[in-house]
């Protein structure tokens, strides 16, 4: 790769690696695994860098690499099993630490989702991507994104109850 390209790539890594790590962490729920994932995705981006004529596409390319690699790793290593479907612990009485408890439950419930569903939720609600952008990042159809998000939210509701403040309702309707 030309020195100028390498300098541009280094600049991209420096500017965006923190954000990419955070998204990767939400997808895999593990700091070390997220670092491995980002390293792998950035390596793929480096290889593809000369043909990324619009460097503005680099982040989309890396995000796609993170998502598809995470899905591939999880499926390959069979880490995507449903860890638990039992009800969450008693939600206790209302108090000042309610939000902390609720946050912990939601996090646990998110990690219990199959990896494709979790990736769809992260891309839609953390990265704030459109359904079309999410589909591109996941390498699937928009209809698949809708169904994955819907299935994820349904599972979260089953685990966490029908708290309208907690989970979006409108995405439970799938229009394919």
């Amino acid at each position: 790769m030309a020195q100028r390209d390498k300098a541009e790539f280094a600049e991209f890594v420096t500017a965006r690696s923190a954000a990419l790590h955070r998204a990767a962490y939400l997808m895999v729920g593990d700091v070390a695994l997220a670092q491995d994932l980002v390293q792998e995705a950035l390596t793929k981006t480096y290889v593809a860098w000369p043909r990324l004529r619009d460097k503005g596409n680099a982040e989309a390319y890396t995000r796609k690499a993170i998502t598809t690699t995470a899905i591939s790793w999880f499926r390959r290593k069979r880490w995507s099993h449903e860890r638990s479907t039992e009800s969450p612990p008693d939600q206790g009485t209302p108090g000042h630490d309610d939000s902390v408890t609720q946050s912990a439950w939601l996090w646990e419930a998110l990690l219990d989702l199959p990896v494709r569903q979790r990736a769809a939720v992260v891309l839609r609600y953390y990265e704030d991507l459109t359904e079309a952008q999410t589909a591109d990042a996941m390498g699937c159809a928009v209809g698949t994104v809708k169904s994955q998000v819907s299935a994820a939210l349904t599972k979260l509701r089953e685990r966490l109850g029908d708290d309208p403040d907690l989970l979006p309702l409108n995405d439970l309707v799938v229009n394919r």
Binding site: V31, Q39, L42, T43, V47, R51, N57, M138, C140
Partner: protein
């Protein structure tokens, strides 16, 4: 819509700190991958050798062997095609050299001659000269061919057409216009096997019958999770979530052991598969058994082209990536490897018949 889920995700993401990636390690890993990809090509299909002398002879109408200077190949495991490589504009093959008149950026072998890319143009070799037959991406030329047949293909620069050229008839046909793509697209002309062309698009892998012009989806509903690595004698090598799969159809494919590298080459009759790895590896497709010939003394080695049903061409580096390339032939049935070319050249001047520029 509530923002609570979003808030949770953002709060959770902010709780962890990450080190800035080791840029040097990343670049080293990327450079290694570029070199490997350059060696066998992401699609690898161009790297498979001639099927056999009988097929080649009938295609060229020359009973004594393939035409246009191609080294004959017999079904006898003891006979195989000669290793071919280029340095600049010079083609080296079987102890002879030939100046093609244009510096070679990438090239492929067919039973009727070679097709090569040079500075955005595509050329074919003929017994008497070199003829321009098309245009190709200037920076990243990518050629495919059936080494046992007379067809080569590429995506035409500018028009983005998938084109196929028959070296036996000198006819170039436009098969399809490649879809408009962005930089993240996975679209690529992947392979030609017999009379079928294969391309990978964002919605899956298509098999295109060159005789009828009909295309069929290999993996309906497929995605970037499935990548066609190679096709030989109707057998597909695919890369998916569980590594490499081999079979006559997507549905009938099955995992080939624990092979994880995402490129490799099938032997002409698909008996063997050589993954593109750091060290030479050859597997029996039917059993998954490791049948790798003995090859010691190199820090990097990988098979890149089958020279017969039993012999594979291997590229090797002795100590570092700065060393000149050593080219060897390894025979599966005997388990032996022999140095064919001790110093073929160094990156990026040397090219091998794999369809992509060596060294990225």
């Amino acid at each position: 819509m509530t923002e609570k889920l979003k808030t949770l995700l953002h709060d959770r993401a902010e709780t962890v700190d990450f080190d800035v990636p080791d840029l040097d390690a990343l670049v080293r890993a990327g450079d290694r991958r570029i070199r490997r990809r350059g060696l066998v090509g992401l699609t690898s299909v161009a790297a498979v050798a001639v099927v056999g002398a009988l097929a080649a002879g009938s295609l060229t109408g020359d009973g004594s062997g393939p035409g246009r200077g191609q080294t004959p190949v017999a079904n006898d495991p003891g006979t195989h095609a000669a290793i071919a490589w280029t340095t600049g504009s010079v083609l080296h093959e079987g102890g002879t050299t030939r100046d093609l008149g244009h510096p070679v950026d990438a090239f492929v072998r067919t039973a009727a001659g070679y097709v090569f890319a040079s500075k955005g143009d595509v050329y074919e070799t003929t017994p008497t000269g070199v003829q321009r037959i098309g245009e190709i991406d200037l920076r990243h030329p990518h050629l495919v061919s059936d080494p046992g047949g007379t067809l080569a293909g590429w995506v035409q620069r500018g028009t983005r057409e998938y084109v196929v050229h028959d070296l036996a008839t000198d006819v170039t046909s436009v098969e399809r216009v490649a879809p408009q793509t962005d930089d993240t697209s996975m679209s690529q002309f992947v392979a030609i096997d017999g009379s079928t062309a294969y391309w990978h698009e964002d919605d899956g892998i298509a098999a295109h019958d060159l005789a009828t012009g009909r295309s069929t989806a290999l993996d309906p509903g497929g995605s970037v999770q499935n990548w066609l690595i190679d096709v030989r004698d109707g057998v597909l090598a695919l890369y998916g979530d569980d590594g490499v799969r081999v079979g006559r159809s997507y549905d009938a494919s099955r995992p080939l052991g624990e092979v994880m590298p995402s490129s490799g080459v099938l032997s002409p009759d698909a008996t063997y598969y050589a993954p593109d790895d750091e060290t030479l590896s050859v597997l029996d497709v039917a059993s998954g058994r490791d049948v790798t010939p003995a090859l010691d003394g190199y820090f990097f080695s990988t098979g890149y082209e089958w020279l017969s049903r039993d012999t594979i061409a291997v590229i090797a580096l002795e100590r570092s990536e700065d060393d000149p390339l050593t080219l060897l032939t390894c025979t599966i049935s005997t388990g032996d490897c022999t140095v064919a070319v001790d110093a073929a050249g160094s990156y990026p001047h040397v090219q091998l018949p794999v369809g992509d520029p060596l060294g990225g």
